[in-house]
């Protein structure tokens, strides 16, 4: 069977990493190429780059960043953040992304998912979702940096998206993100039960045990960011712990 994946994520603003690892004596902690190379060397299974630029000018760097990272990267690269059209997606794929992620643009216009999947294939098309718990036993999609609660039910949304051609779901728990209290396992169980495509868990990881739990809840991959950026652990250390816990990651 395919191994569960450990996926480091870089947030990039106008071509610079927002929170780069600062503990490794790196020449330039803000350079996405250097960060991506480091994660690759440590055993990262894929890299996700999310463009968090606030302005169109900032977002204009995304294609160049993708191309630069592609030169050094021999593992899969997913690029997301501000992808609003098939043209955006095409530019990123041509620059070297293996997959593109869409988020709020797909909420605005779900047909975008089908347009990208029909043109480039489902395996290139990732739906990123920020999910926040609603009062009762469910989750709704939030967009706009968490400021807008859409009322759109997450389980329904993933079913719709997969029906339109999304080949993978990047599922971030809005409530857990940054808290280091573990992934939202109920959210993961609900979404992995709803669709048959791979689901990447995101938001809340603090240690290897959290990754074990997410994988046991059905995630085929775990996205990690701040625990790497803050120097709390490394991909290699996490993978060693996972292997000791009986999770068959790629060594």
């Amino acid at each position: 069977m395919a191994a569960p994946r450990v996926i480091p994520c870089l947030d990039v603003d106008a071509g610079r990493v927002v929170k780069g690892i600062r503990f490794q004596g790196l020449r330039d902690a803000g350079d996405p190429v250097i960060q991506a190379e480091l994660y690759q060397k440590q055993g990262g299974d894929e890299i996700v780059i999310l463009d968090v630029s606030a302005t169109p000018e900032g977002r204009g760097h995304a294609v160049e960043t993708t191309a630069s990272v592609r030169e050094v990267l021999a593992i899969p690269l997913t690029v997301g953040g501000g992808v609003r059209s098939t043209a955006n997606a095409q530019a990123l794929l041509e620059a070297g992304a293996d997959k593109v992620a869409v988020n709020s643009a797909a909420v605005d216009r779900p047909e975008l998912i089908a347009e990208i999947a029909d043109r480039f294939g489902s395996q290139c098309t990732v739906l990123a979702i920020d999910a926040a718990r609603t009062g009762d036993d469910g989750w709704e999609v939030v967009v706009n940096g968490g400021r807008t609660r859409t009322g759109l039910d997450v389980e329904e949304w993933v079913r719709t998206a997969v029906g339109l051609g999304a080949g993978e779901i990047l599922l971030t728990s809005w409530d857990r993100d940054g808290t280091r209290s573990g992934y939202d396992l109920e959210l993961l169980t609900a979404v992995t039960g709803a669709v048959g495509v791979p689901v990447i868990a995101s938001g809340g990881a603090d240690n290897a045990q959290h990754l074990v739990e997410a994988i046991e809840a059905g995630a085929t991959a775990a996205l990690i960011a701040s625990i790497l950026h803050d120097g709390i652990t490394t991909v290699s250390t996490l993978k060693e712990s996972l292997l000791s816990a009986g999770i068959g990651v790629r060594p």
Partner: protein, 203 residues
């Protein structure tokens, strides 16, 4: 010794990764335009992301079918990746009625419903000991369709995902990979280098 590598653009995406991988091995690939480019090339790469039917449509539109099939039958250095591997076979459940190159006997079928589809991730590759190119290791797969068994007269390697799936088939200078060697880290890079080295000797 540098090998002339020509890429056949059968799919829409994925070419950037393949080009980057060859550049890291000091090879600057070029792109095929017409069927003569394919027949003349020292080494040909068939990348592939996209649908079986669309890719065969493109191949027939430009007239690449004969030269590609010819290279495969003659065992001339050819690397087929992902969809590229599937195109070598006779047909695929993905696009009923479409004829593949038919250079390798057999059919492509969809992964079963019991597993997560597409397969997106690293899986172990277990080579036949007669393989010229493949060492045991981990490769990155991104596929919803696969070939279930290695045909007679071809040497193959397999992986396990919802049953046995063919990860490579090879004969002479032809190497077809269901996984993406250009996305399979150092293991994949070493595989590409071995294929290049053989292509340099064979052509």
């Amino acid at each position: 010794m540098s090998v002339d590598v020509t890429i056949v653009p059968t799919g829409l995406a994925n070419i950037a990764s393949v080009v980057a991988a060859f550049r890291r091995l000091d090879v600057e690939p070029r792109f095929a335009n017409d069927s003569d480019d394919i027949a003349r090339a020292d080494a040909v790469v068939m990348p592939g992301v996209g649908a079986f039917g669309a890719a065969m449509g493109r191949i027939d539109e430009v007239g690449w079918r004969e030269p590609l099939a010819g290279r495969i039958s003659a065992g001339r250095p050819t690397l087929a990746v992902c969809l590229g591997l599937q195109l070598l076979f006779e047909k695929s459940e993905e696009s009923p009625g479409v004829h593949g190159l038919g250079a390798v006997p057999g059919a492509v079928t969809r992964l079963p419903g019991e597993v997560t589809v597409p397969q997106l991730g690293w899986n172990r590759v277990t080579p036949d000991e007669r393989s010229r190119f493949v060492e045991p290791g981990w490769a990155y797969f991104a596929n919803s369709y696969r070939v279930e068994s290695v045909p007679d007269d071809w040497i193959g390697t397999t992986a396990d995902y919802g049953g046995t799936l063919v990860s490579t088939v090879e004969r002479g200078g032809v190497l077809a990979c269901q996984f993406h060697p250009e996305l399979s880290g150092e293991w994949g890079s070493a595989l590409l280098q071995r294929w290049l080295d053989a292509a340099g000797r064979d052509s």
